[in-house]
Symmetry: C2
Subunit: 196 residues, 2 copies
DNA sequence: ACATGCGGAGAACGTGCGTTCTCCGCTCCG
DNA sequence: CGGAGCGGAGAACGCACGTTCTCCGCATGT
């Protein structure tokens, strides 16, 4: 087996298992069995479990954000692009193996113990927030709104995971639409010289 | 040592350690040392670690919700009572040992493995949501708003934990205020016969 | 054909931890 | 004063798991 395909298979198995059952619950042996990559090879590629965990979170980060961007790019209207974020969440929540946000879960499990995991969670959420800022900016909406959208999205992920229903995505979308309208109204008022 | 005080001390230590460092990271031995309750006694009171975990989450649930209600009860205006929820979150986030929501963290750590933990997280969030529904109702606001508030609150908890800053509470508060205004405006419009 | 070295399977090792057991002192009752 | 039982300290046990080691087959180069 090729080295790079071994790495891929190992990461595929790690992602499926770590995401589905938690990190501490899954042993290296199980990853060996699920991936077909021998333990020796696993430890050549990732000298310790921590590094496999780190690689899993890093790879998933770029994949997750690319999937989001792909969905958003199907819209052209700047405001629709903002709201598409929540449509994407809805589709994600409906996937049968959805089990919440990998970084929120990892943070809950290891954030207090592993500085690396905490940093990766922070980095992922910072990147997500930066993306929301760009979307809001492109729609001519103030920066505050991006933070509001972030809270709605994070809340939707958590709530959908714990209750096991996709509804929070639609709820977050409707709240986001109201906030966008409120901000847009305020902006329109400001440009018209209206006093608040 | 009395039986009920032993139980209290055990739960005190369990709460401090489980909340601060995660459940799987903390061993029964450490709880013994931190609480001063002997291992024998611990296992008399809680026949297995799961049950100690369960008792920890249950006790913290009522304490957490009572603290919230106490803060809310300092306000009399129904709308202020709704917003006070986020002021309370801000105060909580500023506590030095704040490390996110115990139930979100526990769910991330054990939700996939332990049905009991998943159920307790669901129960806690359902109770929190029901409280928000009551607050919204008392303020004459529609039921949808309570779900929006829930998402903002959950998002604030997660974001404050991962970024290690209390700001999300204020952001959630301002978003909540905008949503309240939007809903109140809509209600006023409806009562005035305005067409949307 | 034969040596050489890489890779796989899985045993082995060490440690941590949930749970139980042993031993001992203390207290309380006759 | 004696013994009987409860509680504490912590050793012991069994298991799971991260990590390493051993052994063996196989491919490759001369």
């Amino acid at each position: 087996m090729d080295g790079t395909t071994a790495r891929q298979q190992a990461l595929d198995a790690a992602e499926r298992l770590f995401y589905g059952r938690g990190i501490q619950t899954v042993g290296m042996d199980e990853i060996r069995t699920a991936s077909g990559v021998s333990l020796k090879r696993l430890y050549q590629l990732f000298p310790a479990k921590d590094q496999l965990v780190q690689a899993y979170l890093e790879r998933r980060d770029v994949a997750w954000r690319r999937r989001l961007a792909d969905r958003v790019d199907r819209e052209s209207d700047p405001v629709e692009r903002v709201l598409a974020v929540f449509d994407h969440l809805g589709a994600w929540f409906r996937e049968p193996d959805f089990r919440g946000c990998a970084w929120i879960n990892s943070y809950g499990e290891l954030g207090a113990t592993s500085a690396a995991v905490a940093a990766l969670a922070r980095a992922h959420k910072a990147a997500f927030r930066a993306y929301l800022v760009r979307l809001a900016d492109a729609a001519g909406l103030p920066g505050d709104l991006a933070d509001h959208l972030l809270l709605l999205a994070e809340g939707a992920m958590v709530t959908a995971a714990i209750f096991g229903t996709p509804e929070p995505a639609a709820q977050a979308r409707s709240a986001a639409a109201l906030l966008v309208a409120a901000h847009a109204g305020a902006a329109a008022g400001r440009t018209a010289g209206e006093r608040v």
